[in-house]
Every structure is written in C-alpha cells, then in structure tokens.
C-alpha cells in the first residue's frame, strides 16, 4: 500500500474521511468558551478539599474534626469514621484510617470559600501511627516484608494474584537445552507522570427532590466515575448522572483519582445538600494520581549462532503501588512482551506487586513503551553478542506475513512492516549513518542513530468485550445529531466520529453535531482507552448511520415514487439512480421524514466477533488486527554532561485507513515528545514514598525547546477489521520512541542502557564508569 500524503495520496474512494477537516471542538477551545469542570459555577456552590496522608504507610489512631466543624464557613467535615464504606469500587479507598500511600485521604471538607476550606482542613486533628513500608518490588517480595494489604484474598503476600497473566508457546526449557547461546538480561523502567495540563476537578450537584446526583467532571471514563459516585452514595446508577466536561488531557490517567474526587465531592454534596466543587492541586494530582507502571523485566533468550531466535522467556514484575485496578493490562503485556518477532518457544509471566508508593495505572501504551524498550534493547544486545549486524538480526527474526506471533496467533492480515522499514531507512540514511556513527572517533559530542520496531493489537482484543453504543438522529431541518459512549479526551474522536457518520450517510460533517458524554443519554460503553475509539468504538455510530440512512432512503423513494434500491444519497443529495435531474436535497427528505412519522433516530450496539484466546493456556487469537510501526531516532550525546539532544525522530505508522491526517499527525507529534520524556527527561523522584518532583518546576516534561525535527510517514493497509479499515494510532505514536532513542544512545556511546529514564545524571554516571573501564574497550563494543 502506498503512503498517505502529498503527491502520493492513497485513494480509497472516500468523500469525508481520509482527509483533514477542522476539529469540531476547535472554535470553543480557541475562544476560551470550552468549559472544563473547574470553570463551572452553580448557585450556592461550596468548595471541597481533601486531607491527604503525610505518610506512605500509617494507621490513624485518633481523628477529631470537632474544631474544624466549628469554624466559620466550614459546612461539612467527613472523616473515614463518618462514611459507610471505606473501600471503593475499583479497590481504592474513598476515605480511610489505614493509609497505604501518600495519595490516601482521611477526611474531606466543604466550605464557603478557599480560606475557610484551608482552615477546616488544618483544624482536623489526626494522630497517626507510622507503619513499616515497602517501596520497591524487592522490598515487597522479601521474606517477612510488611504487607500492603493484609488478609486480602487477592494477594499472595504482596503479589497481586489477580494480575498474573501468562503466555505459553512451544517448550522453552527444551529449546534452552539445545540452542547455541543463552542471553540473560534485566531491564527496568520508572514511573511516569501523565502530566495532563488540567488537574482533576469535579462538581457534584445534588437534587434532593429527585434524589439524582449529577457530577460534572473531566473524566476519561464517565461510566467508571459514575460507578464510584453511585457506590459511595449507595444509590442506583440510574440516579447517578455524570456529565463529562471538556477534558484537559488524560492519556489514560483521569480515571482513579478522577473517580475518587467525584465520589468525595458527591459525599460532601449529599451531606450539605449544596453543589460542591472539588479542585485537585497539581501537587496533589502528582502525589495521588496513577503513573505509568514501573517494570522490571527479567529476560532469558535462546538463540543459535546463525542468529535465529529459539526461545524467549521473560518475567515482568510491575510495581503497582498501593492499589490497582488494571489487571487487564497484563493481558496486553503478556501478548506483546516478545515484540514483533517470530519465536517458536515463548514463556511470559507478568504480575504486579503492591508497595506503599504512588499507584500505577493506564498510561498511553498500557505496558508497551516499557516492553518495547526492554525487548528491543535485549535484541540489540543479543545481536552484539553474536557479532551480527543488529538489523540483519532483526530482519531475520521479524514477524512475516503468514507467520505466527508470540502468543500463537496466526497472522492472517497484511503485515506492512518491511515496507515501513525500507521507506524509513531510505529517508534517514539509517544503515550508512549507523555504521558511520559506530566508527566515529571519541569526541565531546557523539552522534547516534537507533531504531525500534513494534506492533500493537488494535482495540481491547480478548482483554474484555470491545462493545459500544452509537446514536444518530436527523431533525426536520436536516441537521444531524450523533452521540457515542466513547468520549472525547482531547484526542479528536468527536471529529473523527463526525467524519465517519458523514461518510456513512454521505452528508457534510458541517451539519453533524456531536452531543458529548452524559451517562444519562447513552449506555455504558466501557472505557475510552486502548486506542479502541476509532477502530472499534466508531463501528456502532457507523451501524446506526447505516440503519438511519436506510429509513431515509425509504422516504426519498416514496417522494420519487420509486423503490428504495433505486435511490442513493450522495454528498447531501438524494438521487434517483439513472435519472440525472431527479434530485432532492437531504433536508427536504428529512422534513418529509419527520412529518410522515418515520423513524428518525437509531441507537446501535457494536460488539466485535469473539476471539479465540485462552487466558488459562496463555495463547490464541488475541486481537482482531495489529498496527505496525517503526521509529528512527537521531541523537547527539554530550559526553561531558551526559545530556542527550534528540535531533530528529522519523516515525512510520500503519494507520490502516487514515480518518483525519492532521489529527493523526498531532497524535504522533505529541507521542514522540512523551516518548522522549520517558527515555531521557522525566525523572519522578521519590523519597520514602513521597514524590519530590511534584510540579512542573521539578518534573521535566518536554518544552518547545526540546522538540526534535519530527518526520511522520503515514502508511495505509488493507485489513478491514476496524471502522472503514482504520487501525490504532494514539498509543503506537509513543510506544516505540523511547526504545529508538535508547538504541541511538547505544550507537553514539556504545552503552547498553538497561534502566530508563536515563537523564543526564544517570548517563554521565554510565559514561564515567565506561571511561574508568577503558575507553578503547567501549569503542570496540560500539559494533
């Protein structure tokens, strides 16, 4: 398939997708009119706040809120002693006397203004008994380690038993016994802050007449948020309404702390019978929101001297922090652990370990950025040990059309990875530069080029039902209204879905209006995550639009005195096929459609065909299709300071069908900087479970001055599993970037980096050690 882009554009014959149209929410966002939860005001509204734990692990011995309650302007104080249930839906705690990390909350306050709120929080008297804590997986797994959760049937010691996932293919032990070489390595990654620009905020508005609790929140999953609110108030879902406000970024993160914040605001709203706005400060957000899981990856690889991979074994241990609700991540992790390679024998074990640190949750990639870093470095080290060119090694072992992937899924759809590699290598001069840089004389500034290749199962796959609701209706004036249980987080899905409905009906996207998420308007469609929205979530609005179109064709046929199959709707006009002048505008048909009482709205449900995967056996068909990608990074390493200047990043992604190229490019640019942060910038510093880098003055995300030259190449392919053939891009955009940068640092310095992020402090230390061990040996190691 050709590339998508200027002068070489694919023509899939679409009228409204496969091209860029302006975002449907752009006007509200450039004028400042878009309302985020923190912008809302209601009559009589109070401000809510929470008292977070000052310890990583502690028991509250005594709590007294009498003084706080007596303060002027304080309208409610609720401690863990005042609520019916501490433990939340999703395994966190709403309020608790047992504090398992610094994000836990003992009490909440509602007050007339900010000053009264702070005074109220300060006046709560709490006596804590500090408990021994565990922070690393090693500490948590040590004999006799303090337990984060005692007497919990979900735990074996500090291991979270529900989080165990595995893959089994062939017989690794047999293969290890017969292969030429065995390579063992361990790689690590550290937690990453989502750093969405909008901190969590929620406004809970009670209605004592109807008993309805409405919460306005910047929630990534309004249905999860609704569960938290309904659960803590002990009211039915049908009496709990979550209206999603404009979300100021999520990247998987606005889920746990968001839901808990909504629940805490709702508790205060219920207690005071007044609206309560709860704002989370940036410092609180960084302390209490989830982070990308830190991974420890222990590999054992069996390979023959000719470079052929024989066996792949890995134990992936995640530090999940004090609480967790993402056991499903480990399904994805287990399937993707070996990367986009064909290996006959595979054994993967993934599990999480509880500690008294910040909790881990979904973050863009959902295990893949960590695993791609680990496995791509592993293969690079293996090639070096074999004395092979690492691209020869990778090409030899890469997954090819008709092959079987690591979890035993036969790859029956198109694999365009070779074409992506060839294109990117030619664009960057990869192979020449790689050799040239490996031979560069030792100097202050060393150049390097590196690559990572990867694939990603699209949607939720066998993880859980990838089902969603979609709604489309027409009005008598010809305007169209659509909605979906999938939600806008800033990624652009409202625009993409609008284009998909435009394409299906064949009307201009300008007449289509997207309602937006409100749990009282459309059924729970699961979480907007896993890059599933366009691929699978849009299928339901497409189905609804198809059905509605059929009804409209009947009306148009009646008006033409013809049969529906003689009529077509094309670009806003109904045509009687074969009669050039017989044309009726869309809005005229919609008007007649309405006044003749025809069905004008359709809600449809889409659930993709079941996949044949066994969690017990650890194998099978895991995903309906996969998106392929490659990233090439070019860096300059300052050997005096250890600073890595990422000069250029070239990305090639398999989009299946591009829905909106500007939106896709925006996803990729943002994904590159997030990957760059993961590799060389973003160091979350923790001491005794407290995050020291708790604002943007110390937690360094990329600014415009860190921006490399980014070259994006979009590829299309033929697989039809996704909506109009679309594949995922939100997470692929970032997942291979860190691995490519680390590969480039290897090329520049000869250093195999086994733990990321490698900020200048860590890299300088590695370079110093390399110097101490002898510069010439290091140069020899640079291939």
């Amino acid at each position: 398939m050709p590339q998508f882009g200027d002068g070489n554009k694919t023509d899939k014959g679409f009228a409204y997708i496969n091209r860029s149209v302006p975002r449907v929410d752009a006007r509200d966002k450039v004028t400042g009119r878009a309302k985020y939860a923190a912008d809302l005001e209601f009559p009589g509204m109070l401000l809510g706040g929470a008292l977070f734990s000052p310890y990583a692990h502690a028991q509250v011995v005594r709590i007294n809120a009498d003084k706080a309650r007596a303060l002027p302007g304080v309208r409610a104080v609720l401690t863990f002693e005042d609520i019916k249930k501490e433990k939340s839906w999703g395994y966190y705690t709403y309020l608790s006397g047992r504090l398992r990390y610094r994000g836990d909350v003992t009490a909440i306050v509602a007050a007339e203004d900010w000053h009264a709120l702070q005074a109220g929080l300060n006046a709560i008297e709490v006596e804590y008994q500090e408990l021994p804590a565990v922070f690393t997986v090693e500490e948590a797994l040590a004999e006799g380690a303090p337990l984060v959760h005692e007497n919990d049937p979900e735990c074996e010691g500090n291991i979270w038993s529900h989080s165990r996932y595995k893959v089994r293919k062939g017989d690794v032990d047999e293969a290890f016994a017969h292969c030429d070489r065995i390579i063992e390595r361990e790689y690590r990654t550290e937690p990453v802050e989502h750093a969405y620009m909008e901190p969590e905020a929620a406004v809970a508005v009670p209605d004592s007449t109807s008993g309805l609790m409405t919460v306005y929140a910047g929630a990534v999953n309004p249905y999860f948020t609704r569960r938290w609110v309904a659960d803590v108030l002990d009211i039915p879902r049908a009496k709990t309404r979550v209206i999603q406000q404009t979300v100021g970024g999520s990247f998987g993160g606005k889920e746990e702390l968001m839901g808990l914040t909504a629940a805490r605001a709702a508790l205060l709203a219920q207690a005071t019978d007044r609206p309560v706005k709860m704002l989370v400060s940036r410092e609180q957000s960084i302390a209490a929101s989830t982070k990308r899981h830190p991974f420890t990856m222990k590999y054992k690889l069996g390979v023959n001297n000719d470079g052929r991979l024989q066996a792949f074994q890995v134990e992936v241990i995640e530090n999940v922090g004090a609480f967790h609700m993402h056991e499903f991540m480990n399904f994805r992790a287990s399937v993707h652990a070996a990367g986009v390679y064909e290996i006959p024998n595979v054994k993967v074990d993934v599990y999480g370990v509880f500690t008294n640190t910040v909790t881990a949750g979904a973050m863009r990639g959902y295990s893949s950025p960590q695993l791609i870093f680990g496995s791509e470095q592993l293969y690079e080290e293996t090639a070096a040990e074999l004395g092979m060119d690492y691209m020869d090694f990778k090409r030899l072992n890469m997954l090819k059309p008709g092959g079987v992937n690591a979890c035993g899924q036969a790859m029956d759809s198109e694999i365009i990875l070779p074409e992506i590699l060839d294109t990117l290598f030619e664009k960057t001069g990869f192979e020449t530069k790689r050799k040239q840089y490996a031979a560069q004389p030792a100097g202050l500034i060393r150049k390097g080029i590196g690559m990572a290749m990867f694939y990603r199962g699209c949607g939720l796959g066998a993880e859980s039902p990838d089902a969603s609701a979609g709604f489309v209706c027409v009005h008598d004036d010809g305007s169209v209204m659509i909605n979906s249980g999938i939600v806008e987080n800033g990624q652009g899905m409202k625009t993409s879905f609008t284009q998909i409905v435009a394409e299906t009906l064949s009307v201009s996207p300008d007449i289509i209006h997207f309602i937006g998420a409100d749990t009282h308007t459309i059924p729970d469609s699961g979480i907007t995550a896993a890059s599933r929205s366009t691929v699978m979530g849009a299928q339901s609005v497409k189905l609804a639009a198809e059905e509605l179109k059929a009804y409209l064709l009947e009306t148009a046929a009646m008006m033409f005195h013809a049969k529906p199959e003689q009529v077509e709707l094309k670009e806003g006009l109904f045509h009687l096929i074969g009669v050039p002048d017989a044309v009726i505008p869309f809005q005229v048909v919609c008007n007649v459609h309405h006044w003749t009482g025809q069905q004008a709205g359709v809600m449809r449900w889409y659930k993709p065909p079941a996949l044949d995967y066994s969690m017990e056996q650890g194998g099978g068909k895991a995903f309906p299709t996969y998106a392929y990608g490659c990233v090439i990074a070019e860096v300059e390493v300052d050997t005096a300071t250890g600073e890595v200047d990422v000069k250029k990043v070239t990305c090639g992604h398999d989009l299946g069908t591009v829905i909106n190229d500007k939106i896709v490019e925006g996803q990729i640019y943002g994904g590159v900087l997030m990957g760059q942060g993961f590799a060389v910038m973003e160091k979350l510093v923790m001491q005794n479970g407290a995050i020291r880098t708790n604002n943007f003055d110390t937690y360094m995300i990329a600014t415009s001055m860190d921006l490399p030259d980014i070259d994006v190449v979009l590829f299309e392919s033929s697989d039809e599993a996704g909506t109009y053939g679309a594949k995922s891009v939100g997470e692929p955009a970032t997942e291979g970037v860190a691995a490519a940068i680390i590969s480039a640092i290897k090329n520049a310095t000869g250093l195999h980096i086994r733990s990321i992020p490698v900020t200048k402090v860590e890299l300088k230390a590695l370079l110093n050690r390399q110097n101490a061990e002898g510069g010439s040996a290091a140069a020899a190691a640079r291939e």
């Binding site: 302006p22 450039v30 404009t246 800033g490 900087l673 997030m674 415009s704």
Partner: protein, 161 residues
Amino acid sequence: MLLHIILNGKPITAEIEPEQTLLSVLRNDLKHTGAKQGCGVGECGACTVVLDGRAIKSCTVLAAQCEGSEVLTIEGLAKNNELHPLQRAFIDHGAIQCGYCTAGFIMTALALLQRKPNATRGEIQAAISGNLCRCTGYVQIIDAIEAYAAALGEPPAKEGL
C-alpha cells in the same frame, strides 16, 4: 481593596483581596475562565494573559500589582463572533487537542508578534517555551503561529489575496 484595570478594552473595577493573584481575580471575580490554572507556580503557562503588552503567567502576578493596567485575555480576541486570525490559524493547523493550554499559547504568541511581527520560527519556538503542552508536541502550534506571522509580514498589496 478596589482594583481598576482595562480588561479586553473595557474599564473594570473589582473588589479584591490583597493576596489574590490576577488569575484568581480573572477566574473567580470577573468570570473570565479562559485562562486556566495548571500548576499554580508559573511553570505551565495555561494562565498566560497579556498585561500591558507582555505575556505573563497570571498565577504568579498579584492582582493588586495590575492597578491601572491593560489586561488582554482570550475572551478579548474574537470580535462580534469573528475569530482573530491567530485563532483561525490554530484551527487550520490542527494546533489544538485537549485545549487546556490553547489560550495560553495564543496569548503568548500574540504578545510576541505584536512586539515582533516578523518573528522567525526559532524565535516563536523560544517564545512559547514557557508554555507546556502535553498533547500536541508543539509542532502544529508553531506552524500556526508561523503562518499567522507570515500573513502579518506580507506587504499590504498582497493582503486579501
């Protein structure tokens, strides 16, 4: 205390507390919520407004310091529902995702280009380095500002083409 400012061209008087930041007064008292609080320490730039021609982080400026000043916020850009060309450029170049940082970038760019209409791409990149964006990777934001700067720099004869 009383604060007098010219907000988006209109004289405004507000009763404020001495310790209130300009951002707090704009958002809570004057109900101009286009400027956002992202960090509260002047690092993210979501609160950027133009104060007497300079882009400033309104979360780190006391409102009381702004007595008699002209304050321009995102709400002051579009006239009669007609977008400012810089807003238009942000839309056309896909420079918006979640939108939380967008107003801050536009205000920073506006102040830069009012001071230096022929700013280069490098100067634009440097000028916005105090504004953080986690979604876009900055590329399309820089493209948008550059396109607007290029339109500003065109000789008058070419305008309207």
